[in-house]
């Protein structure tokens, strides 16, 4: 599927580029803008980012594959990220993770059939003092128990 940036996003891209002495450093910011517009980073998106920044397509792929926050395949409308690293693990992070897996019927990296939810087991999100946690897209939910997880998922379904 063809991908081009909206005129508004092209303005945002120019703003990002102006932060640096050259174009290339803007690539991480531009990929975020692309992901926001397209939902994930497809080959067409990489091609367009390469064109906008005068970079090679393989260089863009190198960036996308190195950083975990660029989605190389489509994710759900609500991307659930459960931390299971040590501080969360000690406070029940795996119980939360297993519960979400069971409730949604998907594994790590999976997307529900209605494309509403996707799940990712993530590394430390910096919520060690408020563990366990999940992040839904960009928002953190902290100090959780199983009941709260159920409530969050139900409320997202109605959103």
């Amino acid at each position: 599927m063809e991908f081009t940036f909206t005129p508004e996003n092209l303005n945002r891209i120019n703003e990002v580029i102006s932060h640096y002495p050259e174009k290339r450093p803007a690539v991480m910011g531009v990929l975020y803008i692309a992901q926001e517009q397209n939902g994930w980073i497809s080959y067409e998106v990489m091609k367009e980012v390469a064109y906008v920044l005068d970079m090679k397509e393989e260089e863009i792929l190198g960036i996308v594959s190195f950083y975990t926050m660029y989605h190389e395949k489509p994710v759900g409308k609500f991307h659930l990220q459960v931390c299971t690293n040590v501080s969360c693990m000690l406070r029940g992070g795996y119980k939360i993770y297993d519960h979400v897996k069971e409730k949604l019927g998907i594994e790590n990296g999976g997307v529900t059939e209605d494309k509403l939810f996707s799940l990712e087991e993530v590394e430390c999100m910096g919520s060690c003092g408020t563990a366990p946690m999940i992040a839904v897209n960009e928002d953190y939910f902290e100090n959780l128990n199983i009941q709260q997880i159920d409530q969050i998922i139900e409320s997202l379904k109605n959103k």
């Binding site: 932060h19 640096y20 002495p21 050259e22 290339r24 450093p25 803007a26 690539v27 991480m28 910011g29 990929l31 975020y32 190198g62 960036i63 190195f66 950083y67 975990t68 926050m69 660029y70 299971t84 690293n85 040590v86 501080s87 693990m89 000690l90 406070r91 993530v122 590394e123 430390c124 999100m125 910096g126 919520s127 060690c128 003092g129 408020t130 563990a131 992040a135 960009e138 928002d139 953190y140």
Partner: protein, 440 residues
């Protein structure tokens, strides 16, 4: 006790409140002095980096060349990805202007042409908070072109926020610079050090968010005042992060040298169910763990912890009670470093995978005592053989956890060699496992 970085002032994140409480006066004071004077004061204050290595901040700044045909840059490290560490986000949320003011003072001291604050990508909320604070500071004329008019003098600088995208390794200073340059976050071989060859090959200084946030009070109240707080060799307050099995986890700003037991029992409210402590990691998951019966009397500062056989790291204290499954914990830590190894150096790329496989085998109940020796051997062969410190970060928890909790791990493995490959350990050079001294 006075709090320096996170004072209890309501709405301090708002620029007007910050100014009412003496905000941006240190910047004005700094601008009336020479850059060398500023570096000198930070040097004398004894301020040490809060990002893990506890290097002297003023000394680091003084490495920057005084004259340079190339532009100079300042990077502020807010990548904060070490498990157990969650202090920088508190500064971004509750006192972002002190970070901005500290950044401006440091930029002036090293005469930087631009400053980049690198924040981990997962911190969307905190990036927005910082960007809002930065926009306000621009509007008030403290940052950017309006500085000359507002503050007098001839110096102005722009601050940009660079958002990471989920890579622990970008907290390593040279990987962070590559990431800002729009490359994969691969650490660089050092030397050359950033002060000679940093961002785009230009002289660069990198400091942690918390380190920089300490600078305005040092300029305002004087280096002598700062140097008298806490332990003389590591002065100031530290944002201690308490997590794991404690009743009140969270960030506690206290003088350096606070007793580890005070942090856990007095401030953290002790262990749930009054259980005994099995293990404490004092500085984030990569630092050597301590046994529960060992922590009495240990002070939390760089020198005291070094003497105790561990390291301050990012002061993220992870507490584990007596019912904790240490094999599972260590396997989870190993999984983290396996996931985060950038893959440049073979010992780290392969070694982290081997350690994870071995620990998973032990966790499944299929391990033997030889596996423990093999783990120590693999860990020892990563250490010191990699470009960056992620090698040590991956090796230390494994090597020190197994050596210090040998009795515990012995009960989790069989004395018989159950899997043929384990026989090969006879050829390995590490048959003993003394506690190696911790490298600086």
């Amino acid at each position: 006790m006075e709090k320096i970085v996170l004072p209890d002032i309501k709405d301090l994140h708002l620029i007007d409140v910050y100014i009412q409480n003496g905000g941006y006066t240190a910047l004005k004071k700094a601008f009336s002095q020479t850059p060398d004077d500023i570096i000198d004061q930070v040097k004398k204050s004894g301020l040490r980096g809060r990002g893990g290595a506890a290097f002297f901040a003023g000394l680091k700044w003084s490495f920057m060349p005084k004259t340079s045909s190339k532009p100079k840059y300042l990077c502020i490290n807010g990548d904060e990805s070490e498990p157990g560490s969650f202090k920088d986000r508190q500064i971004l949320e509750f006192n972002p202007h002190q970070l901005i003011e500290g950044t401006l003072i440091e930029a002036y001291a090293i005469q930087a042409n631009a400053a980049y604050i690198y924040i981990r990508g997962e911190y969307h909320k905190w990036i927005k908070l910082l960007e809002k604070a930065l926009a306000d500071a621009y509007e008030y004329g403290f940052v950017g072109d309006k500085m000359k008019e507002k503050l007098g003098g001839n110096y102005s600088v722009n601050i940009y926020v660079h958002k990471g995208a989920g890579a622990y390794i970008c907290g390593e200073e040279s990987a962070l610079m590559n990431s800002i340059e729009g490359k994969r976050g691969y650490p660089r071989v050092k030397p050359p050090f950033p002060a000679q060859n940093g961002l785009w090959g230009c002289p660069t200084t990198i400091n942690n968010v918390e380190t920089v946030a300490n600078v305005p009070p040092i300029i305002n109240k004087g280096w002598e005042w700062f140097s008298k707080i806490g332990e003389p060799k590591h002065p100031g307050t530290i944002l201690y992060g308490l997590s794991g099995h404690v009743n009140n986890p969270g960030i506690y700003e206290l003088p350096s040298g606070t007793l580890l037991t005070d942090l856990i029992y007095k401030y953290g409210g002790g262990v749930p169910g009054n259980k005994k402590i099995l293990c404490v990691i004092p500085g984030g998951s990569s630092m050597p763990p301590l046994r529960g019966e060992q922590i009495e009397g240990i002070k939390m500062d760089a020198e005291s912890l070094k003497a105790a056989g561990t390291s301050i790291g990012t002061a993220g204290i992870i507490v584990m009670d007596e019912d904790t499954d240490l094999v599972q914990v260590l396997a989870r830590i190993a999984k983290f470093y396996y996931h985060e190894s950038c893959g440049q150096c073979t010992p780290c790329r392969e070694g982290t995978g081997w350690m994870l496989k071995l620990l998973n085998r032990i966790a499944k109940g299929e391990g033997s005592t030889h596996d423990l020796d093999l783990l120590i051997s693999v860990a020892s062969n990563i250490e010191g053989n990699t470009i960056c410190a992620l090698g040590e970060a991956a090796a230390w928890p494994v090597r020190f956890m197994i050596t210090r909790f040998r009795d515990y791990f012995e009960t989790c493995v069989s004395r018989e060699v159950t899997i043929p490959v384990a026989n090969k350990v006879h050829s390995l050079r590490h048959t003993e496992y003394p506690l190696a001294p911790i490298k600086d």
